[in-house]
Amino acid sequence: MATFTLRVNGQNHPVDVEPDTPLLFVLSDDLALRGPKFGCGLGQCGSCTVMLKGEAVRSCITPVNTVGNSEITTLEGLGTLEKPHPIQQAFIDAQAVQCGFCVNGVIMSAKAYLDKNARASDADIRQALSGVLCRCGAHTRMMQAIRQYAQGVRR
């Protein structure tokens, strides 16, 4: 075991874990966050995505001892139930969810990409989401929600 201080959603969190523990387990178990989730544990579905220094990373294959004190943003760090972030609001408006389990990966991946590519085309956004999975088939609504958010960013 070793101690680390993680900076998550603007706050410092000291944790005592095995150094090679994937960041996901620290976030979901030690910090009890519900945004990043275990979908495959292999970096293949996007469910565990967080933003690390503004980049979308797969926390299930990111050992906790590699993140230092870099700023980590999770889905909870974007907005709240009472005041959702505009991309979260776009998903609510479009009801772009079925079971909702994949939506963390979809929102975090899309936001990280659009933060740096505000003028991205639909094809660009799809390319950015090419490694993100949804099994319920909410693809069309999710793209609609992302498009709506992207239009707001551009204005």
Binding site: M1, V17, E18, D20, T21, F25, S28, D29, A32, L33, R34, G35, K37, F38, G39, C40, G41, L42, Q44, C45, S47, T74, L75, E76, L78, G79, T80, L81, E82, P84, Q88, F91, I92, Q95, V97, Q98, C99, G100, F101, C102, N104, V106, I107, R126, L129, S130, G131, V132, L133, C134, R135, C136, G137, A138, H139, T140, R141, M142, M143, Q144
Partner: protein
Amino acid sequence: MKPHSKISRRNFMKGSAALVVGVGATGLVARFGLSPSASAAQGINGAPGNQLDSWIAIAADGKVTAYTGKCELGHGLHTAQTQLIAEELSVPFDRVTLLQCDTGVTPDQGTTSGAQSHPTNFNQANLALAGATAREVLTQRASARLNLPAQQLVARDGIVMSRTDASKRVSYGELVAGAKFGTALNTNASRKPQSEWSILGKPIKRPEIAAMVTGQFEYVHNVRVPGMLHGQVVRPPFVGATLERVDESSVRGMAGVVKVVTKKNFVGIVAEKPWQAIQAAAKLNVTWSRGPALPKHSSFHDTLRTQKPTRDTFTVNSKDVDEKIGGAAKVIKATYLYPYQMHGSFASSCAVADVQGERATIWSASQAVYPLRDSAALVLGLRPENVHVIFRLASGCYGCNGADPVSYDAALLSQAAGKRVRVQLSRKDEMAWENYGYAFVIDQRAGVDATGNIVSWDHVSWSAVMGGRPGGGNPGNVASGMLAGFEPAAFAARSPAPDPTNFGNMSNAVPSYVTGCVGTRCGGTGTIASQRVLTHNIRSPFFTGPLRSPERLQNTFAHESFMDEIAASLRVDPVDYRLRHLADPRLIHVLQEAAKLAKWEKRPSPRSGIARTGTVSGRGISCVLYEGNNGYCAVVAEVDVTQSTGAIVVKNLYIANDCGPISNPDGLNNQLEGGAIQGISRALLEEVTWDDEKVTSVDWRTYRPLYLGAEVPVIRTQLINAEGRAMGAGETAVTVVPAAIANAVFDATGARLRQIPFTPERVKAALAAR
């Protein structure tokens, strides 16, 4: 509403915006039953379903708590059921708290499956009847209290008042005051007429979505209880393997390891933290004996056709099929092949169990909390009444996924460790050991007369089965139950098939175009009187179970492809040709509506003047009455086929759906869209593979589904809001999409695809064979 959706017959969307409610965190917690005891006005302890108190309680402040045994699975059912109760009771949507699927508090409604929740809870029974009975009882009590005849009273916003003098009024809270109703459901209670609906039938947003997209929602994966440890299972490396030895010393001294657990062939590890459990499970030295060699994947459809023994069933048999086909002007034959596919739930399955002595509590995403209570009791050796199962949503299940087996896993590890244990399966354990959707071989044969009408239809299928939903008594129907020492339900061979005695649609084994006559009763939707439907089951080497539209999808792919092949051989329009052989007016209506929505051009397939190279476009149609009685759907698919690569892109889908009265049009659209996209993934990509000893589809690289990067179609829907009986809509679209794609590819290229999935290699082979 989305711009691409239209609702026909009634314009009932006016003024609905005011009903879209915002729900704060507290409301959401109560709504999803995270704390049943806090919000239940009265405790209902798994009571039988004929008492009103089993379904509805009204507190002194007028808040309504309703109880349902049909669970939210990501399909919007929780919102629709809340709308139902609010409507029947004439109270605002956000005054109703609906508690779902908890053996401590909700009625036993079996399994939430098979698009049966609307038929069960939205017609003159169960939850809907409870709402209607409660309004009737409240009106009667108000009549006595106000000294006015009941017919002069009206219920609004939880208040019963005089129709002519609003000052004469009494609230539900005053009438009930938190007490029990103490009355049975009245089977004759009047449902509120659809024409008067102001809450049901509206596109009310699902309140939990706000919590999901902000990371606040509690899935079963997020359940955390004090003192909880983490388990991992060690599944056998081969199908049919048995345990020889576990070397516990191989994990001795590893950080956090609490216990190694074995029971028959079940092996698992309990550790303090999830990562510790995962590492220890990987390191644990376990010796297994090999199982028997698996049948070859490449020739498995031949195995299906030839393996003995079989279980044979005639669904219809007019006993003149050979004669009619023998005398037909033209005979058409085709064989369709379908692979094993997996539920492949997005999140590997998870459960939390707390087994202490004679009692157990299990937090599970099972679709069947009461059956799981009983089967888990068998696994644990406890009395069913001492097992409490509490539903929590997981990722979409689409049928019998890993939710039940992982509940046994957690329960077995908790029992052995004497601690609360959470288990989330690895991706590989989820995929290699789940209950796959059925592989099929389907032979179709039809005789056509000189005028081009089908005079006889002959259908023979072979499919493999083992296990399935465990129900209350067969934990061996899923992997962990079998490993723990229970057998799958016995395979009951039967050959030859007995004559049918009653008509059953048999999961759409019966084509839509036959009369479905058994004796003097006819249950079909078509006109063809000469008909034979024979199905053969064999024992599967892998666990199987219901996967969204079980058998209905496989059969409908074969029927709707075959109907297109017959129409093409006669050079007639595929819509017209279907209409010539259909008798059911509602099935005819959805077919016509889908064609109209797609601006269907009347002509035979394939289109004329097809270019043999480059990207070409085509359209195809398909329709179904799901299970013969539970939802009408038709779809037109427009596809592009790139002939050099064999790639298919579905550009547009036009769906017409009639499931009776619509509870929530946006929820219905979401189901149709999701089913359609899943149908594309199933048709184009998904197939379980194996070698001679094990399943080799173990992650998203070896079982490739439709990612968000894929080009997906624009989906337009026509929702037909019919009166009468509420039917299911969760499985209609997925059922019709694969055949519509195959028919569209044929229209574009003249090449017929008869084996799912339509991989580029298979498309290129079909193109080469033109």
